[in-house]
């Protein structure tokens, strides 16, 4: 039943390029990449139990590595892979303190990681384009429909992989590690190994999505892929959709981006309204949208 519903929704989404405007497609394309960011974040937070305030550190590494390589004439597909690899290395750098530090300290390290990356980009403005951003010559496709399909396919494939991982035996162990590390160890699981793996997987998808996003946008800038406010948006999306669900994160991201777009006529006030909605959801429905539905399902 669920699978049928999901397939119908998927087909409906795939058919959009035939009957909606390029503008709507463009909004959704960006939303889908954000969906992958949010799912990757949820894997770390919801399953490994690590609060990463700097998802944009991983995304930014992926985006800028890909963009810089492209400016040196490397083929696009190689740039995307290199971006993903750079993010994975970044993931290991973040994981080292995560294995030693607790709670707010790790949260701070992730924030600082973003600030450092941001400063480095600004300082080496000659190479990175600094605050103006890095112009990227290649694009994934010039056709908005193709770009849309690519993003949708990427979202669906990433979602399937991340969701299956979260439901797999390894995902079960990861969840146990995140919930109670001592008990997981007493059951014979090497918590450090499993958390490291989670960081690597989360970073891989963040980096891939970041790299693909800059090739879609044709530019990489601090404001779009590195700034802390972008990271905050990703976290809000995942919490809004429902922590520990993977799917919820994607739905939350699409909702957030689309809501922001619908509220655009409010002008500067739209961020205010979106933040207020998110705050209300956090205060009154802390399990998020999908979490709320799941909980009702469990009770029934």
């Amino acid at each position: 039943m669920r699978i049928v519903t999901a397939l119908i929704i998927l087909l409906a989404l795939a058919s959009l390029p035939f009957w909606v405007s390029a503008y709507i497609l463009a909004v959704l394309t960006v939303a889908y990449y954000f969906g992958v960011f949010a799912m990757a974040w949820d894997l770390l937070f919801g399953f490994a139990g690590e609060v990463n305030f700097g998802p944009t550190f991983l995304i930014g590494l992926g985006a800028y590595s890909a963009g810089l390589l492209d400016n040196h004439g490397v083929p696009v597909w190689l740039c995307v892979i290199a971006g993903a690899l750079a993010a994975v290395i970044g993931g290991f750098v973040l994981a080292l303190p995560a294995l030693r530090l607790r709670g707010p300290y790790f949260g701070l390290i992730t924030l600082v990681a973003v600030l450092v990356l941001q400063q480095v980009i600004v300082i080496f403005a000659g190479v990175t384009g600094g605050e103006i951003g890095l112009t990227i010559n290649d694009v994934l496709s010039v056709d908005s429909g193709h770009n849309y399909w690519l993003a949708l396919a990427f979202l669906v494939i990433s979602g399937l992989i991340l969701y299956s991982f979260s439901r797999s035996a390894a995902g079960l162990i990861l969840q146990a590690c995140g919930q109670d590390a001592i008990e997981a160890q007493a059951l014979g699981f090497n918590v450090a190994k499993h958390k490291l793996a989670a960081f690597a997987v989360s970073a891989l998808f963040s980096g891939l999505a970041g790299a693909m996003l800059v090739f879609y946008l044709g530019t990489a800038s601090v404001d779009t892929v590195v700034d802390i406010s972008v990271g905050v948006q990703i976290i809000i999306a995942a919490v809004l959709g429902g922590r520990r669900t993977i799917v919820g994160a994607a739905i939350g991201a699409v909702f957030l981006i689309v809501a922001g777009e619908i509220l655009r006529p409010l002008g500067q006030l739209n961020t205010f309204v979106v933040s207020a909605i998110a705050l209300v959801v956090i205060l009154f429905f802390p399990d998020g949208l999908v979490g709320y539905l799941l909980r009702r399902g469990e009770r029934a």
Partner: protein, 488 residues
């Protein structure tokens, strides 16, 4: 004779200046159950964590079937064959009971995407064995407390360890549940596993264990057959104090009219564990009432319910009016001062500052007068008045905690386990101070104690709390004859 499966020797653990475990040694053979007992703070839980590698020992050795494992990480110790049944656990809530058990059957691999087919059947069999057969597909949040404990046991069984450590196996269980748990633990023995049961008291585990090792303040104080350990002089002194004395007061306080404190039908649950079951109790003006019971019987919960710190069912009346709905602070200002087991001192403030805070709701003149009176009652505090509370010795801290509560000029003083972890000579000083309090003031006292020798001499009336219920009440001189035998 079979060689020991688990061999512990010279194990020592220090936390800062505190020695939690001191030169501990014991061994358990295959097919043997050892009870490790001791009152709260005796180091038994730390010892268990040291074996499991959750805490690192300063020195000492832990051998599993002859192999030294003391420096290994926890997950490696677990894989080598030691399993731990936690007292409190955090199951995976989104998963079913079956999936929770399956987790314990998984290999420590990153690339195991789907569990093997045999795992499912195995998990079901283990679930059936521990009595979870009917609820395997439910979520842990919907289970009663005993079933959650069964699930923890199932996880330990799934790991098929050679050595099983069980932390407080029967806490929060009903008598019938205790029976079925005991049967499960006995089955470990039949399978040739070595079992270590950690518990507060001998009584709970006596029927199950082959041997008992008693600890106090980090050291072994007795080892042997359960009944021998129960009769052991040192053990009895640790749990009960010395010989029991009682002093009936010349003029017993009048027990007429409205009781000062009246508890009826009080039940408290922690999540799904029942900590108090339909407890009834009365304290009259000027009375000194003792509630005795072993650690874990529910004394602290009773006092916390009276102080409004835990939610409860039933009624607690103070001078005839209900206390329900008042904040803990309002209850304290209303005249019920609690001096908790944990003392809750302000460690980084001086003795004087601690006392001042206790008296802050009193008029200045009253405050000054009480301070003089308390310094007279506890002279040691006067000489330490400028010292930080956390630098005081255990006995001095306890005196400060009592004095701080008395600064509030309470009508009822609740003393929870004041003797916890104190040396005998300190107990005597404390006992004298309580005696003076009883003789010279009109204060009403409700004392909770495990140490009967300490609790009885001052008491006008005694309640015995066991397993969340009041099982006996009466005057202290009848305690030894009617309730003393079954106490430990």
């Amino acid at each position: 004779m079979t060689p020991p499966l688990l061999e512990v020797s010279g194990l020592t653990k220090r936390f800062g200046g505190l020695v939690a475990v001191k030169n501990l040694g014991f061994s358990i053979a295959a097919g043997e159950i050892l009870g490790l007992i001791g009152p709260n703070g005796s180091g038994k839980s730390t010892a268990m964590k040291l074996i499991m590698g959750i805490e690192r020992a300063n020195i000492g050795s832990v051998r599993l079937a002859g192999r030294e494992i003391v420096s290994w990480p926890t997950h490696r110790i677990a894989r080598a064959g030691i399993g731990l049944v936690f007292q409190h656990s955090r199951p995976l809530h989104r998963q079913t009971v079956l999936e929770n058990i399956k987790l314990a059957l998984l290999p420590d691999s990153l690339f195991q995407l789907a569990a093997e087919r045999s795992v499912d059947a195995k998990a079901r069999a283990i679930g059936e064995r521990v009595g979870l057969g009917a609820v395997l597909d439910r979520h842990p949040t919907t289970l009663p407390f005993a079933d959650l404990r069964r699930m923890e046991l199932a996880k330990a069984i799934a790991r098929d360890p050679e050595v099983v450590l069980v932390d407080e196996p029967f806490a929060g269980l009903t008598l019938a549940e205790v029976e079925s748990f005991s049967a499960l633990i006995r089955s470990f023995r039949e399978e040739g596993k070595a079992v270590l049961l950690v518990d507060h008291n001998v009584k709970g585990v006596a029927a199950l264990v082959d041997r008992v090792l008693a600890m106090y303040l980090g050291e072994r104080i007795a080892e042997g057959q359960a009944d021998a350990v129960m009769r052991d002089e040192t053990v009895r002194r640790v749990y009960l104090g010395g010989a029991i004395e009682t002093h009936a007061r010349a003029i017993a306080p009048e027990k007429s009219g409205v009781p000062l404190l009246k508890v009826t039908d009080l039940s408290v649950f922690y999540g799904k564990a029942q900590a108090l079951e339909r407890v009834a109790l009365e304290v009259h003006e000027r009375e000194f009432v003792s509630v005795v019971g072993l650690n874990g019987a529910g004394k602290t919960t009773l006092f916390n319910a009276i102080s409004g710190l835990v939610p409860y069912a039933g009624a607690i009346e103070w001078r005839g009016g209900a206390l329900a709905g008042k904040t803990p602070a309002a209850i304290a200002r209303g005249g019920i001062a609690q001096c908790p087991e944990t003392r809750e001192l302000f460690g980084d403030m001086s003795v004087q500052e601690n006392l001042d805070l206790g008296g802050q709701h009193q008029p200045p003149a009253e405050r000054a007068a009480r301070l003089i009176w308390l310094y007279d009652l506890f002279p040691i505090l006067k000489s330490r008045s400028k010292q930080l509370a956390r630098t005081l010795s255990g006995g001095e801290q306890q005196m400060l905690a009592i004095a701080r509560a008395l600064m509030m000029n309470p009508s009822l003083l609740i003393l929870d386990e004041p003797t916890l972890g104190l040396a005998p000579v300190i107990l005597e000083q404390l006992s004298k101070a309580l005696e003076r309090l009883r003789e010279t003031t009109s204060i009403t006292v409700l004392l909770g104690e495990q140490n009967v020798t300490f609790a009885l001499p001052h008491a006008d009336r005694v309640y015995v709390l066991e397993h969340a219920r009041i099982i006996w009440q009466g005057p202290p001189d009848r305690f030894a004859a009617e309730a003393g035998a079954g106490y430990l």
